[in-house]
């Protein structure tokens, strides 16, 4: 047991480092921010696209993909090593491409014909075209398959009407992977079909959603009589849910998951060192120390869980199911830790922004935390997932299982 690279890993790391040294400057400092409020302006986007192209040319854009498709047919571990090294350099965030390359394009690769793949994969991996995922709907929520956006057969094409929500990056996306209902008279999972479409198709409207934390990383998308061709179908008619599961499976393969926006025990420690409480420095207060220790063991536990997962990848084993726990732990910890920090700050804890200690970091984390507890699966859904997929417990009773979708109770 150690934390060392294998000889192969060390060689790859050196290779990556050399390339990064030649192509980027070392990172000077990292800034903490609200994880849910990430937005890119157009200048940043141009830089991000240029960097993505450079990575794709070298085969570092999607390391596990084949040569010539932005990859080097590498291992998941090599992909992780690249990621570790890249964070040490001052390069644009690749976040804008994550959903397209992580979820949409793998689905296109799995279900579309040669011609479509040839057209879309390369531009996506090179950053020229950005994709978003159009699954969630206001009416669906945790029950994703209960979506209501209709795709109706219309001559040799389809007409889309409805709306999608919580779409990350739709405002700068070129294409979207769209799950729609093509038959409401069969049970909900059976009446779905997957499509892709250009986000500039007439009738598509993107509106940012303003979040409770003021930012707006998500969008709502409206479809009004949007016409698309049958060739834009991904997979068979009525097989949309199976296709979507492929997409979502790719989502789950991403190691790690939850992010606390750089707000964790070290920051709390820093705050506690600078504040005086009733009985002296906050860092000497037993209740403060107890909390710090509680959160530390959770953070450290996650960190070492990630290392265990990476070890499995390094040994070419399937990673264990441990990765599922990250977001549950991180989101609640962020909310509780920030609330506690505000308490330490006392009446000044209610200040927001720069007036507050440490640039209002804890205020901003506290404001964003409710979103983190919801986005990408609520605490409750994630516990269901752990219970069912990891522990193998039975699912809940399903009253909508064999009922035609248009007869499922909706309360309306």
């Amino acid at each position: 047991m150690d934390f060392e690279d294998s000889p192969e890993e060390a060689a790859f790391r050196a290779e990556v480092r050399a390339w990064l040294d030649a192509n980027a400057a070392p990172r000077v400092e990292r800034e903490a921010g609200n994880p849910l409020d990430e937005r890119l302006d157009s200048g940043q986007m141009a830089k991000a696209k240029a960097w993505q192209k450079k990575r794709a040319d070298r085969g570092y854009a999607r390391i596990t993909w084949p040569l010539g498709m932005g990859g080097i047919a590498g291992t998941p571990m090599q992909s992780i090593i690249y990621g570790q090294e890249e964070t040490k350099y001052d390069v644009p965030s690749g976040a804008a491409f994550a959903i397209g390359l992580g979820m949409c394009i793998p689905t296109v690769m799995a279900y579309c014909g040669e011609e479509t793949r040839a057209r879309y994969v390369k531009p996506a991996v090179e950053g020229a075209e950005i994709w978003c995922q159009l699954f969630s709907e206001p009416a669906g929520g945790s029950d994703v398959a209960a979506l209501r956006t209709r795709a109706e057969k219309n001559g040799d094409g389809w007409t889309i009407n409805g709306s999608k929500i919580w779409t990350t990056g739709a405002q700068f996306s070129d294409y979207g992977l769209l799950l729609a209902r093509t038959d409401p008279t069969v049970p909900k999972h059976k009446g779905l079909t997957m499509f892709y479409l250009s986000m500039t198709t007439p009738g598509v409207e993107v509106r940012p959603i303003r979040q409770a934390s003021s930012g707006s990383g998500f969008n709502e998308i409206f479809f009004t009589d949007v016409r698309i061709a049958d060739s834009q179908r991904v997979g068979e008619i009525g097989q949309g849910w199976q296709v979507a599961l492929t997409t979502l499976m790719h989502e789950r393969l991403a190691v790690g998951g939850g992010q606390g926006g750089g707000i964790d025990v070290p920051q709390l420690l820093q705050l506690a060192r600078g504040l005086e409480l009733e009985d002296g420095p906050a860092i000497r207060n037993a209740a403060v120390r107890e909390k710090i220790a509680d959160w530390y063991v959770r953070s450290a536990g996650l960190k070492y869980t990630t290392l265990r997962t990476m070890t499995a990848l390094s040994r070419s084993q399937q990673p264990g199911p441990e990765a599922s726990i990250a977001k549950i732990v991180v989101a609640s910890k962020l909310q509780d830790l920030c609330a506690f920090a505000l308490e330490l700050e006392g009446e000044a804890g209610m200040l927001s922004g720069e007036e507050a200690p440490m640039h209002g970091m804890f205020q901003s984390g506290w404001l964003g935390a409710p979103g983190l507890r919801i986005a990408g699966g609520t605490d409750e859904i994630l516990r269901n997932i752990i219970a069912e997929r990891v522990l193998g417990l039975p699912g809940d009773v399903r009253v909508d299982k064999d009922v035609p979708f248009n007869q499922v109770p909706t309360g309306r």
Partner: protein
């Protein structure tokens, strides 16, 4: 056994709720969130009309002369409605400081205006991050002149007057502290709006530079008087918090009953049911502790410090939990700006910090337990 509000008090409460239901929808809170000022002056004028500010002010000073129990039921409804008005600063803190420590002249000068809604007041204690202890009070008050900085002062941009906890002598600790009464429109005072978590409750930095001020209460008694004022305010604010928690529970329940997933209302899932049950339990415990605080406040009982601390801690915990789990129950929609959930989430924290954090009140609570146990 008579541990509940009287029928008359409950009637006042019902009327307050009916009034606020109509006049204080979350639409007016939203207006302030979207940049419509520090508080809602129309609502303030309307509740002045109803005499709410004077509920516990004796008739001889222009109030209704009702009492604290009547004020408690009004506070609960203000909390439920998230009323964006400087009520707590003016009534729970400023007016109470005058009633507790003021001379007859000071009372006559200011209380009638408060009762009429013409005077907004506040209470300035904290000077920056961390605990407020006698040691941290650096604002100086000597020979009728006040100098120093207070932050964050609730309603500080709109208040006409303030009571300020300040150091009057170099005597160690609490014994060197006074309360100073200051007209905020006088010379030597600068105010700056500061952003807080809850945009519907304004706050300020008050900078005093040799400002004119007068003593409120005996010199050297500032810390004790402030403590007594805070105890009363903690009870009253606990009612606001209980009202807020109750509103969150109602919202969460309504949403869970009408929102369907997997073909059934989400209220039929145990994860949601148990969450709501916990909200209910916390809120009922907080309500009961607040009632005990109300009794202690209304009778000026020896038990007030303990009762106030328990009411404060319990209500803060209940509102915190209800506000965050209300958002969680709503899911994604609850985290949008358009939903009302975040108003409660932000208000819960603002109220939870305004009179000092739980930690300080818990420490005080145990101190009181030690004392009563030793007695």
């Amino acid at each position: 056994m008579n541990f509940d509000f009287s029928d008359e008090q409950k009637q006042i409460k019902d009327q307050a709720r009916k009034f606020l239901n109509e006049k204080c929808t979350t639409r007016i809170v939203r207006k302030l969130y979207d940049g419509g000022g520090n508080f809602d002056p129309v609502l303030w004028a309307q509740i002045a009309q109803l005499g709410w500010m004077g509920t516990a002010i004796p008739e001889e000073f222009g109030g209704l002369g009702l009492g604290y129990l009547e004020l408690c039921v009004i506070a609960e409804e203000l909390g439920r409605a998230l009323a964006p008005v400087p009520f707590s600063s003016t009534v729970y803190l400023f007016a109470e400081a005058l009633l507790i420590a003021g001379t007859d002249d000071q009372k006559r000068r200011l209380l009638p205006g408060i009762a009429r809604g013409e005077i907004v007041g506040t209470f300035a204690r904290s000077e920056g991050p961390g605990a407020v202890t006698p040691k941290t009070i650096r604002t100086g008050f000597r020979n009728g002149r006040l100098s120093g900085t207070k932050i964050a002062v609730a309603d500080g941009m709109d208040a006409h007057c303030a009571v300020v906890l300040a150091r009057g002598s170099e005597e160690a600790g609490a014994r060197g502290l006074h309360l100073a009464l200051v007209d905020l429109n006088g010379a030597g005072i600068r105010r700056e709006a500061v952003a807080t978590l809850d945009p519907s409750r304004g706050a300020a930095r008050l900078v005093f530079d040799d400002a004119d001020a007068e003593a409120l209460g005996a010199l050297g008694q500032g810390w004790q008087l402030a403590s007594r004022v805070l105890d009363g305010a903690a009870v009253l604010m606990a009612f606001e918090q209980v009202g807020g928690a109750d509103a969150c529970l109602a919202m969460a329940k309504d949403y869970a009953m009408t929102r369907y997933a997997f073909g059934r209302p989400i209220a039929s899932f145990q994860a949601i049911k148990h969450k709501l049950a916990d909200m209910y339990v916390n809120t009922e415990l907080a309500r009961s502790n607040a009632y005990y605080g109300a009794w202690a406040l209304s009778t000026d009982a020896r038990e007030l410090p303990l009762a106030a601390a328990a009411a404060r801690v319990s209500a803060t915990q209940a509102f915190d939990y209800a506000a965050k789990e209300n958002t969680q129950t709503h899911g994604g929609i609850g985290f949008t700006w358009e939903a009302d959930c975040h108003f409660y989430y932000k208000r819960s924290r603002q109220l939870g910090l305004a009179l000092g954090p739980q930690r300080a009140w818990k420490d005080k609570l145990v101190g009181e337990l030690e004392r009563s146990n030793a007695a």
